[in-house]
Protein backbone atom coordinates (compact mmCIF):
# COMPACT_ATOMS: atom_id res chain seq x y z
CA UNK A 1 0.00 0.00 0.00
CA UNK A 2 1.02 3.57 -0.57
CA UNK A 3 0.13 6.64 1.43
CA UNK A 4 -1.16 9.78 -0.20
CA UNK A 5 -1.51 13.32 1.09
CA UNK A 6 -4.78 15.01 0.15
CA UNK A 7 -4.32 18.76 0.63
CA UNK A 8 -7.29 21.11 0.60
CA UNK A 9 -6.62 24.56 -0.78
CA UNK A 10 -8.86 27.34 0.45
CA UNK A 11 -9.21 30.84 -0.99
CA UNK A 12 -8.25 33.86 1.18
CA UNK A 13 -11.13 35.94 2.47
CA UNK A 14 -14.51 35.44 4.09
CA UNK A 15 -15.52 31.92 5.04
CA UNK A 16 -18.86 30.67 3.71
CA UNK A 17 -21.89 30.80 6.01
CA UNK A 18 -22.51 28.38 8.91
CA UNK A 19 -25.15 26.35 7.07
CA UNK A 20 -22.80 25.73 4.17
CA UNK A 21 -19.99 24.76 6.55
CA UNK A 22 -22.28 22.43 8.51
CA UNK A 23 -23.16 20.58 5.31
CA UNK A 24 -19.45 20.33 4.42
CA UNK A 25 -18.58 19.01 7.88
CA UNK A 26 -21.36 16.42 7.68
CA UNK A 27 -20.10 15.18 4.29
CA UNK A 28 -16.54 15.06 5.59
CA UNK A 29 -17.74 13.03 8.57
CA UNK A 30 -19.32 10.46 6.26
CA UNK A 31 -16.13 10.30 4.19
CA UNK A 32 -13.96 9.82 7.26
CA UNK A 33 -16.09 6.96 8.57
CA UNK A 34 -15.92 5.29 5.19
CA UNK A 35 -12.14 5.70 5.04
CA UNK A 36 -11.88 4.26 8.56
CA UNK A 37 -14.14 1.30 7.85
CA UNK A 38 -12.10 0.35 4.78
CA UNK A 39 -8.80 0.69 6.63
CA UNK A 40 -7.76 3.62 4.43
CA UNK A 41 -7.72 6.38 7.05
CA UNK A 42 -4.34 7.47 8.46
CA UNK A 43 -4.76 11.02 9.73
CA UNK A 44 -6.53 14.24 8.87
CA UNK A 45 -7.49 17.58 10.33
CA UNK A 46 -8.41 21.13 9.40
CA UNK A 47 -5.89 23.88 10.10
CA UNK A 48 -6.33 27.30 11.68
CA UNK A 49 -5.97 30.11 9.18
CA UNK A 50 -2.48 31.16 7.94
CA UNK A 51 -2.40 34.26 10.16
CA UNK A 52 -1.84 31.87 13.09
CA UNK A 53 1.37 30.47 11.54
CA UNK A 54 4.90 31.10 12.79
CA UNK A 55 7.99 30.56 10.64
CA UNK A 56 11.44 29.48 11.91
CA UNK A 57 14.45 30.14 9.66
CA UNK A 58 17.98 28.90 10.30
CA UNK A 59 20.51 31.69 9.95
CA UNK A 60 24.17 31.31 10.88
CA UNK A 61 23.53 28.76 13.64
CA UNK A 62 20.69 30.83 15.05
CA UNK A 63 17.01 30.45 14.35
CA UNK A 64 14.98 33.48 13.38
CA UNK A 65 11.36 33.52 14.51
CA UNK A 66 8.90 35.45 12.36
CA UNK A 67 5.16 35.90 12.28
CA UNK A 68 3.03 34.78 9.38
CA UNK A 69 2.79 31.99 6.87
CA UNK A 70 5.80 30.77 4.88
CA UNK A 71 4.28 32.02 1.63
CA UNK A 72 1.46 34.47 1.09
CA UNK A 73 -0.95 33.53 -1.62
CA UNK A 74 -4.50 33.77 -2.85
CA UNK A 75 -5.00 30.20 -1.62
CA UNK A 76 -3.67 28.52 1.46
CA UNK A 77 -3.52 25.02 2.88
CA UNK A 78 -6.78 24.73 4.82
CA UNK A 79 -6.38 21.16 6.00
CA UNK A 80 -5.20 17.77 4.93
CA UNK A 81 -5.88 14.08 5.08
CA UNK A 82 -3.43 11.21 4.81
CA UNK A 83 -4.86 8.03 3.33
CA UNK A 84 -3.68 4.54 2.41
CA UNK A 85 -4.49 3.37 -1.11
CA UNK A 86 -3.26 0.63 -3.44
CA UNK A 87 -2.59 3.00 -6.34
CA UNK A 88 -3.14 6.52 -7.67
CA UNK A 89 -6.55 5.71 -9.18
CA UNK A 90 -7.84 4.62 -5.76
CA UNK A 91 -6.33 7.75 -4.15
CA UNK A 92 -7.87 9.97 -6.85
CA UNK A 93 -11.27 8.37 -6.24
CA UNK A 94 -11.09 9.45 -2.57
CA UNK A 95 -9.68 12.85 -3.60
CA UNK A 96 -12.58 13.38 -5.98
CA UNK A 97 -15.02 12.85 -3.11
CA UNK A 98 -13.12 15.35 -0.94
CA UNK A 99 -13.28 17.90 -3.76
CA UNK A 100 -17.05 17.43 -4.07
CA UNK A 101 -17.60 17.51 -0.29
CA UNK A 102 -15.47 20.61 0.37
CA UNK A 103 -16.07 22.46 -2.94
CA UNK A 104 -12.31 23.04 -2.91
CA UNK A 105 -9.42 21.98 -5.13
CA UNK A 106 -7.58 18.96 -3.71
CA UNK A 107 -3.95 18.13 -4.38
CA UNK A 108 -3.14 14.41 -4.26
CA UNK A 109 0.52 13.64 -3.64
CA UNK A 110 2.22 10.33 -2.93
CA UNK A 111 4.39 9.78 0.14
CA UNK A 112 7.73 8.11 -0.42
CA UNK A 113 7.98 4.43 0.49
CA UNK A 114 5.40 1.76 1.25
CA UNK A 115 3.25 0.86 4.24
CA UNK A 116 1.59 -2.33 5.38
CA UNK A 117 -1.92 -2.79 3.99
Amino acid sequence: MKQYLLSMYQPQGELPGPEFLAAVMADLGVLRRELESTGSWVFGQGLHDPATATVLRPSGGEVLVTDGPFTEGKEYLGGFTVIKAPDLDAALAWGRRYALATHLPIEVRPFQGEVEG
Binding site: K2, P86, D87, L88, D89, L92, V108, R109, P110, Q112
Partner: protein, 407 residues
Amino acid sequence: MTSVPVTATEIERVFRQEYGRAVAVLVRLVGDLDSAEEAVQEAFTTAVRQWPSTGLPPSPAGWIITTARNKAIDRQRREALRPGRHADALLLHTRDEPAEEGPVRDDRLRLIFTCCHPALAETAQVALTLRLLGGLTTAEIARAFLVSEPAMAQRIVRAKAKIRDARIPYRIPADADLPERLRPVLAVVYLVFNEGYLSGSGAAPVREQLCAEAVRLARLLAELMPDEPEVLGLLALLLLVQSRRPARTAPDGTLVLLADQDRSRWDAALVAEGQALVRRCLRLGRPGPYQLQAAINAVHSDAPSAAATDWGQIVQLYDRQMALAPTPVVALHRAVAVAETDGPQAALALVDALDLDAYHLTHAVRADLLRRLGRDAEAARAYREALTRTTNEAERAFLERRLRELS
Protein backbone atom coordinates in the same frame (compact mmCIF):
# COMPACT_ATOMS: atom_id res chain seq x y z
CA MET B 1 14.34 -22.47 -38.57
CA THR B 2 14.06 -20.52 -41.77
CA SER B 3 17.00 -18.71 -43.28
CA VAL B 4 15.37 -15.73 -44.94
CA PRO B 5 18.08 -13.11 -45.41
CA VAL B 6 17.52 -10.27 -42.98
CA THR B 7 18.36 -6.70 -43.81
CA ALA B 8 18.69 -3.74 -41.46
CA THR B 9 15.47 -2.31 -42.93
CA GLU B 10 13.67 -5.54 -42.12
CA ILE B 11 14.80 -5.39 -38.49
CA GLU B 12 13.84 -1.72 -38.41
CA ARG B 13 10.37 -2.70 -39.65
CA VAL B 14 10.02 -5.41 -36.98
CA PHE B 15 11.18 -2.88 -34.40
CA ARG B 16 8.51 -0.32 -35.40
CA GLN B 17 5.82 -2.95 -35.51
CA GLU B 18 6.65 -4.95 -32.39
CA TYR B 19 8.34 -2.54 -30.00
CA GLY B 20 5.12 -1.44 -28.28
CA ARG B 21 3.81 -4.99 -27.98
CA ALA B 22 7.09 -6.20 -26.46
CA VAL B 23 7.36 -3.30 -24.00
CA ALA B 24 3.72 -3.82 -22.97
CA VAL B 25 4.31 -7.51 -22.14
CA LEU B 26 7.57 -6.77 -20.36
CA VAL B 27 6.02 -4.06 -18.19
CA ARG B 28 3.56 -6.63 -16.89
CA LEU B 29 6.39 -9.08 -16.20
CA VAL B 30 8.91 -6.72 -14.58
CA GLY B 31 6.48 -4.10 -13.25
CA ASP B 32 8.60 -1.13 -14.26
CA LEU B 33 8.77 0.89 -17.47
CA ASP B 34 12.50 1.54 -17.53
CA SER B 35 13.52 -2.09 -17.01
CA ALA B 36 10.97 -3.17 -19.62
CA GLU B 37 12.35 -0.75 -22.18
CA GLU B 38 15.96 -1.70 -21.44
CA ALA B 39 15.21 -5.40 -21.84
CA VAL B 40 13.37 -4.89 -25.14
CA GLN B 41 16.16 -2.69 -26.48
CA GLU B 42 18.74 -5.31 -25.50
CA ALA B 43 16.70 -7.95 -27.29
CA PHE B 44 16.69 -5.86 -30.47
CA THR B 45 20.43 -5.30 -30.15
CA THR B 46 20.83 -9.08 -30.03
CA ALA B 47 18.52 -9.43 -33.04
CA VAL B 48 20.64 -7.01 -35.06
CA ARG B 49 23.67 -9.20 -34.26
CA GLN B 50 22.08 -12.62 -34.78
CA TRP B 51 19.32 -12.37 -37.38
CA PRO B 52 21.58 -11.59 -40.37
CA SER B 53 23.22 -15.03 -39.90
CA THR B 54 20.34 -17.07 -38.38
CA GLY B 55 17.59 -15.58 -40.55
CA LEU B 56 14.30 -14.11 -39.37
CA PRO B 57 12.72 -16.31 -36.68
CA PRO B 58 9.21 -17.69 -37.48
CA SER B 59 7.65 -15.28 -34.96
CA PRO B 60 9.88 -12.21 -34.64
CA ALA B 61 7.61 -10.73 -31.96
CA GLY B 62 7.68 -13.92 -29.91
CA TRP B 63 11.46 -14.11 -30.28
CA ILE B 64 11.90 -10.49 -29.12
CA ILE B 65 9.59 -10.97 -26.13
CA THR B 66 11.22 -14.23 -25.04
CA THR B 67 14.72 -12.78 -25.46
CA ALA B 68 13.77 -9.58 -23.60
CA ARG B 69 12.24 -11.64 -20.81
CA ASN B 70 15.40 -13.71 -20.48
CA LYS B 71 17.49 -10.53 -20.43
CA ALA B 72 15.26 -9.13 -17.72
CA ILE B 73 15.57 -12.33 -15.63
CA ASP B 74 19.37 -12.29 -16.02
CA ARG B 75 19.48 -8.68 -14.98
CA GLN B 76 17.29 -9.25 -11.96
CA ARG B 77 19.42 -12.22 -10.86
CA ARG B 78 22.51 -10.02 -11.16
CA GLU B 79 21.00 -7.12 -9.30
CA ALA B 80 20.27 -8.61 -5.90
CA LEU B 81 19.12 -5.17 -4.83
CA ARG B 82 15.88 -5.47 -6.78
CA PRO B 83 12.78 -5.94 -4.63
CA GLY B 84 12.12 -9.67 -4.34
CA ARG B 85 8.50 -9.49 -5.36
CA HIS B 86 9.43 -8.30 -8.84
CA ALA B 87 11.75 -11.23 -9.34
CA ASP B 88 9.04 -13.57 -8.05
CA ALA B 89 6.42 -12.12 -10.37
CA LEU B 90 8.81 -12.57 -13.24
CA LEU B 91 9.54 -16.20 -12.38
CA LEU B 92 5.84 -16.91 -12.01
CA HIS B 93 5.25 -15.84 -15.55
CA THR B 94 8.23 -17.44 -17.19
CA ARG B 95 6.42 -20.67 -17.93
CA ASP B 96 3.69 -18.89 -19.87
CA GLU B 97 4.16 -18.62 -23.59
CA PRO B 98 4.45 -14.92 -24.28
CA ALA B 99 3.01 -14.64 -27.78
CA GLU B 100 -0.60 -15.54 -26.89
CA GLU B 101 -2.83 -12.94 -28.48
CA GLY B 102 -5.25 -12.39 -25.56
CA PRO B 103 -2.91 -11.25 -22.81
CA VAL B 104 -0.69 -9.39 -25.27
CA ARG B 105 -3.63 -7.38 -26.52
CA ASP B 106 -4.58 -6.54 -22.97
CA ASP B 107 -1.02 -5.54 -22.22
CA ARG B 108 -0.94 -3.01 -25.03
CA LEU B 109 -4.26 -1.59 -23.96
CA ARG B 110 -3.01 -1.32 -20.38
CA LEU B 111 0.08 0.48 -21.59
CA ILE B 112 -1.96 2.97 -23.64
CA PHE B 113 -4.15 3.81 -20.66
CA THR B 114 -1.10 4.22 -18.45
CA CYS B 115 0.65 6.50 -20.96
CA CYS B 116 -2.52 8.59 -21.37
CA HIS B 117 -3.46 8.71 -17.69
CA PRO B 118 -5.24 12.01 -16.93
CA ALA B 119 -2.81 12.65 -14.05
CA LEU B 120 -0.08 13.21 -16.68
CA ALA B 121 0.16 16.44 -18.68
CA GLU B 122 -0.99 16.07 -22.28
CA THR B 123 2.51 16.81 -23.61
CA ALA B 124 3.81 13.96 -21.45
CA GLN B 125 1.01 11.63 -22.59
CA VAL B 126 1.91 12.26 -26.21
CA ALA B 127 5.64 11.77 -25.64
CA LEU B 128 5.17 8.56 -23.65
CA THR B 129 2.73 7.07 -26.14
CA LEU B 130 5.07 7.72 -29.07
CA ARG B 131 8.06 6.47 -27.09
CA LEU B 132 6.62 3.33 -25.49
CA LEU B 133 3.98 2.23 -27.99
CA GLY B 134 5.40 3.72 -31.15
CA GLY B 135 9.03 2.95 -30.48
CA LEU B 136 10.04 6.43 -31.65
CA THR B 137 13.33 7.65 -30.27
CA THR B 138 13.43 10.64 -27.96
CA ALA B 139 15.28 12.55 -30.71
CA GLU B 140 12.50 11.81 -33.22
CA ILE B 141 9.78 12.95 -30.81
CA ALA B 142 11.77 16.09 -29.95
CA ARG B 143 12.12 16.95 -33.65
CA ALA B 144 8.43 16.39 -34.30
CA PHE B 145 7.36 18.74 -31.52
CA LEU B 146 10.12 21.32 -32.00
CA VAL B 147 11.53 20.76 -28.55
CA SER B 148 15.22 20.26 -27.79
CA GLU B 149 16.22 16.66 -27.24
CA PRO B 150 17.34 17.17 -23.61
CA ALA B 151 14.02 18.91 -22.86
CA MET B 152 12.06 16.03 -24.39
CA ALA B 153 14.21 13.47 -22.56
CA GLN B 154 13.49 15.26 -19.30
CA ARG B 155 9.78 15.34 -20.04
CA ILE B 156 9.79 11.57 -20.56
CA VAL B 157 11.93 10.88 -17.48
CA ARG B 158 9.61 13.00 -15.32
CA ALA B 159 6.49 11.30 -16.63
CA LYS B 160 7.96 7.85 -16.00
CA ALA B 161 8.99 8.94 -12.49
CA LYS B 162 5.44 10.11 -11.79
CA ILE B 163 4.01 6.80 -13.00
CA ARG B 164 6.37 4.95 -10.68
CA ASP B 165 6.28 7.25 -7.62
CA ALA B 166 2.57 8.10 -7.61
CA ARG B 167 1.85 4.50 -8.62
CA ILE B 168 -0.25 5.13 -11.68
CA PRO B 169 -1.70 1.66 -12.27
CA TYR B 170 -0.98 -0.54 -15.27
CA ARG B 171 -4.59 -1.48 -15.80
CA ILE B 172 -7.52 -1.19 -18.19
CA PRO B 173 -10.08 1.14 -16.60
CA ALA B 174 -13.41 -0.24 -15.40
CA ASP B 175 -16.31 0.09 -17.88
CA ALA B 176 -17.82 2.90 -15.82
CA ASP B 177 -14.64 4.96 -16.13
CA LEU B 178 -13.98 4.09 -19.77
CA PRO B 179 -15.62 7.10 -21.47
CA GLU B 180 -13.66 9.51 -19.30
CA ARG B 181 -10.40 7.58 -19.63
CA LEU B 182 -10.79 7.06 -23.36
CA ARG B 183 -11.01 10.80 -24.05
CA PRO B 184 -7.32 11.59 -23.44
CA VAL B 185 -6.27 8.44 -25.34
CA LEU B 186 -8.18 9.55 -28.44
CA ALA B 187 -6.99 13.14 -27.99
CA VAL B 188 -3.35 11.99 -27.96
CA VAL B 189 -3.75 10.01 -31.19
CA TYR B 190 -5.60 12.91 -32.84
CA LEU B 191 -2.94 15.37 -31.70
CA VAL B 192 -0.13 13.20 -33.05
CA PHE B 193 -1.91 13.03 -36.40
CA ASN B 194 -2.55 16.77 -36.57
CA GLU B 195 1.01 17.53 -35.63
CA GLY B 196 2.05 15.49 -38.65
CA TYR B 197 -0.67 16.76 -40.95
CA LEU B 198 -0.97 20.43 -40.11
CA SER B 199 2.32 21.45 -38.58
CA GLY B 200 4.08 23.92 -40.83
CA SER B 201 7.52 23.29 -39.49
CA GLY B 202 9.60 20.17 -39.14
CA ALA B 203 10.95 18.02 -41.92
CA ALA B 204 8.43 16.27 -44.17
CA PRO B 205 9.64 12.72 -43.32
CA VAL B 206 9.15 13.36 -39.60
CA ARG B 207 5.63 14.67 -40.23
CA GLU B 208 4.74 11.69 -42.41
CA GLN B 209 6.04 9.38 -39.72
CA LEU B 210 3.75 11.04 -37.16
CA CYS B 211 0.69 10.60 -39.40
CA ALA B 212 1.57 6.98 -40.05
CA GLU B 213 2.10 6.39 -36.34
CA ALA B 214 -1.24 8.01 -35.46
CA VAL B 215 -3.05 5.83 -37.99
CA ARG B 216 -1.26 2.76 -36.65
CA LEU B 217 -2.27 3.64 -33.07
CA ALA B 218 -5.86 4.32 -34.14
CA ARG B 219 -5.93 0.94 -35.91
CA LEU B 220 -4.62 -0.71 -32.78
CA LEU B 221 -7.28 0.98 -30.62
CA ALA B 222 -10.00 -0.07 -33.07
CA GLU B 223 -8.70 -3.63 -32.97
CA LEU B 224 -8.57 -3.64 -29.17
CA MET B 225 -11.90 -1.83 -28.59
CA PRO B 226 -14.05 -2.70 -31.63
CA ASP B 227 -17.30 -1.74 -29.88
CA GLU B 228 -16.33 1.83 -28.96
CA PRO B 229 -17.89 4.01 -31.66
CA GLU B 230 -15.65 7.01 -30.98
CA VAL B 231 -12.57 4.80 -31.44
CA LEU B 232 -13.90 3.70 -34.85
CA GLY B 233 -14.86 7.30 -35.61
CA LEU B 234 -11.33 8.51 -34.91
CA LEU B 235 -9.81 5.83 -37.14
CA ALA B 236 -12.30 6.64 -39.92
CA LEU B 237 -11.51 10.35 -39.62
CA LEU B 238 -7.75 9.81 -39.83
CA LEU B 239 -8.06 7.43 -42.80
CA LEU B 240 -10.29 9.80 -44.76
CA VAL B 241 -8.04 12.80 -44.13
CA GLN B 242 -4.93 10.74 -44.84
CA SER B 243 -6.47 9.54 -48.13
CA ARG B 244 -6.15 13.09 -49.51
CA ARG B 245 -2.48 13.50 -48.69
CA PRO B 246 -1.30 12.75 -52.28
CA ALA B 247 -3.54 15.54 -53.65
CA ARG B 248 -2.99 18.03 -50.88
CA THR B 249 0.25 19.64 -52.02
CA ALA B 250 1.18 20.91 -55.47
CA PRO B 251 4.55 19.86 -56.97
CA ASP B 252 6.02 23.17 -55.72
CA GLY B 253 4.97 22.28 -52.17
CA THR B 254 2.09 24.76 -51.90
CA LEU B 255 -1.19 23.78 -50.30
CA VAL B 256 -4.07 22.69 -52.55
CA LEU B 257 -7.53 23.37 -51.08
CA LEU B 258 -10.05 20.55 -50.89
CA ALA B 259 -12.15 22.20 -53.63
CA ASP B 260 -9.17 22.35 -56.01
CA GLN B 261 -7.73 18.89 -55.36
CA ASP B 262 -7.39 16.31 -58.13
CA ARG B 263 -9.75 13.73 -56.62
CA SER B 264 -8.39 10.93 -58.79
CA ARG B 265 -5.25 11.15 -56.68
CA TRP B 266 -7.07 10.35 -53.44
CA ASP B 267 -6.13 6.96 -52.02
CA ALA B 268 -9.20 4.91 -52.95
CA ALA B 269 -8.43 2.07 -50.53
CA LEU B 270 -8.22 4.45 -47.56
CA VAL B 271 -11.43 6.19 -48.65
CA ALA B 272 -13.28 2.86 -48.89
CA GLU B 273 -12.00 1.73 -45.50
CA GLY B 274 -12.88 5.05 -43.87
CA GLN B 275 -16.37 5.09 -45.32
CA ALA B 276 -17.04 1.51 -44.26
CA LEU B 277 -16.05 2.49 -40.71
CA VAL B 278 -18.37 5.51 -40.79
CA ARG B 279 -21.25 3.20 -41.76
CA ARG B 280 -20.33 0.83 -38.94
CA CYS B 281 -20.40 3.77 -36.49
CA LEU B 282 -23.85 4.80 -37.72
CA ARG B 283 -25.17 1.32 -36.97
CA LEU B 284 -23.87 1.54 -33.37
CA GLY B 285 -26.08 4.60 -32.90
CA ARG B 286 -23.97 6.41 -30.28
CA PRO B 287 -22.68 9.49 -32.12
CA GLY B 288 -19.74 11.54 -30.86
CA PRO B 289 -17.46 14.33 -32.08
CA TYR B 290 -14.94 12.09 -33.89
CA GLN B 291 -17.69 10.12 -35.61
CA LEU B 292 -19.37 13.32 -36.82
CA GLN B 293 -16.10 14.72 -38.11
CA ALA B 294 -15.51 11.43 -39.89
CA ALA B 295 -19.03 11.54 -41.36
CA ILE B 296 -18.41 15.07 -42.69
CA ASN B 297 -15.21 13.87 -44.32
CA ALA B 298 -17.05 10.88 -45.76
CA VAL B 299 -19.51 13.25 -47.47
CA HIS B 300 -16.55 15.03 -49.10
CA SER B 301 -15.07 11.68 -50.12
CA ASP B 302 -18.39 10.69 -51.71
CA ALA B 303 -18.42 13.69 -54.05
CA PRO B 304 -16.86 13.03 -57.46
CA SER B 305 -16.17 16.77 -57.76
CA ALA B 306 -16.20 19.73 -55.37
CA ALA B 307 -19.32 21.08 -57.12
CA ALA B 308 -21.13 17.78 -56.48
CA THR B 309 -20.60 17.98 -52.70
CA ASP B 310 -23.76 17.50 -50.63
CA TRP B 311 -23.29 20.67 -48.55
CA GLY B 312 -26.78 20.38 -47.06
CA GLN B 313 -25.80 17.13 -45.41
CA ILE B 314 -22.53 18.65 -44.21
CA VAL B 315 -24.38 21.57 -42.57
CA GLN B 316 -26.68 19.07 -40.86
CA LEU B 317 -23.70 17.12 -39.52
CA TYR B 318 -22.16 20.36 -38.18
CA ASP B 319 -25.52 21.14 -36.54
CA ARG B 320 -25.35 17.80 -34.76
CA GLN B 321 -21.77 18.50 -33.72
CA MET B 322 -22.83 21.92 -32.36
CA ALA B 323 -25.65 20.24 -30.43
CA LEU B 324 -23.16 17.78 -28.92
CA ALA B 325 -20.28 20.15 -28.16
CA PRO B 326 -20.68 23.74 -29.35
CA THR B 327 -17.28 25.34 -29.90
CA PRO B 328 -16.40 28.46 -31.93
CA VAL B 329 -14.07 26.37 -34.14
CA VAL B 330 -16.91 24.01 -35.10
CA ALA B 331 -19.14 27.06 -35.69
CA LEU B 332 -16.50 28.49 -38.02
CA HIS B 333 -16.36 25.28 -40.06
CA ARG B 334 -20.14 25.20 -40.13
CA ALA B 335 -20.14 28.74 -41.55
CA VAL B 336 -17.88 27.57 -44.39
CA ALA B 337 -20.50 24.94 -45.28
CA VAL B 338 -23.32 27.48 -44.94
CA ALA B 339 -21.54 29.66 -47.52
CA GLU B 340 -22.14 26.84 -50.01
CA THR B 341 -25.83 26.31 -49.16
CA ASP B 342 -26.98 29.87 -48.36
CA GLY B 343 -24.28 32.00 -49.96
CA PRO B 344 -21.29 34.00 -48.67
CA GLN B 345 -23.42 36.82 -47.20
CA ALA B 346 -25.19 34.47 -44.77
CA ALA B 347 -21.88 32.83 -43.85
CA LEU B 348 -20.17 36.19 -43.24
CA ALA B 349 -22.84 37.15 -40.70
CA LEU B 350 -22.13 33.88 -38.83
CA VAL B 351 -18.35 34.41 -38.89
CA ASP B 352 -18.64 38.02 -37.71
CA ALA B 353 -20.70 36.87 -34.74
CA LEU B 354 -17.91 34.53 -33.56
CA ASP B 355 -15.52 35.37 -30.78
CA LEU B 356 -12.47 33.76 -32.36
CA ASP B 357 -10.20 36.63 -33.29
CA ALA B 358 -6.87 35.00 -32.38
CA TYR B 359 -7.38 32.09 -34.78
CA HIS B 360 -5.86 32.68 -38.23
CA LEU B 361 -8.54 30.58 -39.97
CA THR B 362 -11.29 32.96 -38.81
CA HIS B 363 -9.62 35.73 -40.82
CA ALA B 364 -8.80 33.46 -43.76
CA VAL B 365 -12.46 32.38 -43.96
CA ARG B 366 -13.67 35.99 -43.66
CA ALA B 367 -11.23 37.04 -46.36
CA ASP B 368 -12.50 34.36 -48.71
CA LEU B 369 -16.15 35.28 -48.11
CA LEU B 370 -15.44 39.00 -48.66
CA ARG B 371 -13.52 38.15 -51.83
CA ARG B 372 -16.51 36.19 -53.12
CA LEU B 373 -18.77 39.15 -52.30
CA GLY B 374 -16.51 41.43 -54.37
CA ARG B 375 -15.47 43.43 -51.30
CA ASP B 376 -11.80 43.29 -52.28
CA ALA B 377 -10.35 45.99 -50.01
CA GLU B 378 -11.89 44.36 -46.92
CA ALA B 379 -10.81 40.94 -48.16
CA ALA B 380 -7.20 42.14 -48.50
CA ARG B 381 -7.29 43.48 -44.94
CA ALA B 382 -8.61 40.14 -43.68
CA TYR B 383 -5.89 38.18 -45.55
CA ARG B 384 -3.28 40.40 -43.88
CA GLU B 385 -4.91 39.75 -40.47
CA ALA B 386 -4.72 36.02 -41.16
CA LEU B 387 -1.05 36.31 -42.19
CA THR B 388 -0.08 37.93 -38.88
CA ARG B 389 -1.55 34.90 -37.08
CA THR B 390 0.12 31.93 -38.76
CA THR B 391 3.70 30.76 -39.10
CA ASN B 392 2.78 27.69 -41.15
CA GLU B 393 4.76 28.17 -44.37
CA ALA B 394 2.36 26.33 -46.68
CA GLU B 395 -0.59 28.33 -45.33
CA ARG B 396 1.34 31.59 -45.55
CA ALA B 397 2.22 30.90 -49.17
CA PHE B 398 -1.45 30.20 -49.91
CA LEU B 399 -2.67 33.39 -48.19
CA GLU B 400 -0.02 35.52 -49.89
CA ARG B 401 -1.01 34.12 -53.28
CA ARG B 402 -4.67 34.97 -52.63
CA LEU B 403 -3.67 38.46 -51.50
CA ARG B 404 -1.64 39.00 -54.71
CA GLU B 405 -4.56 37.79 -56.83
CA LEU B 406 -6.78 40.48 -55.27
CA SER B 407 -4.61 43.44 -56.21
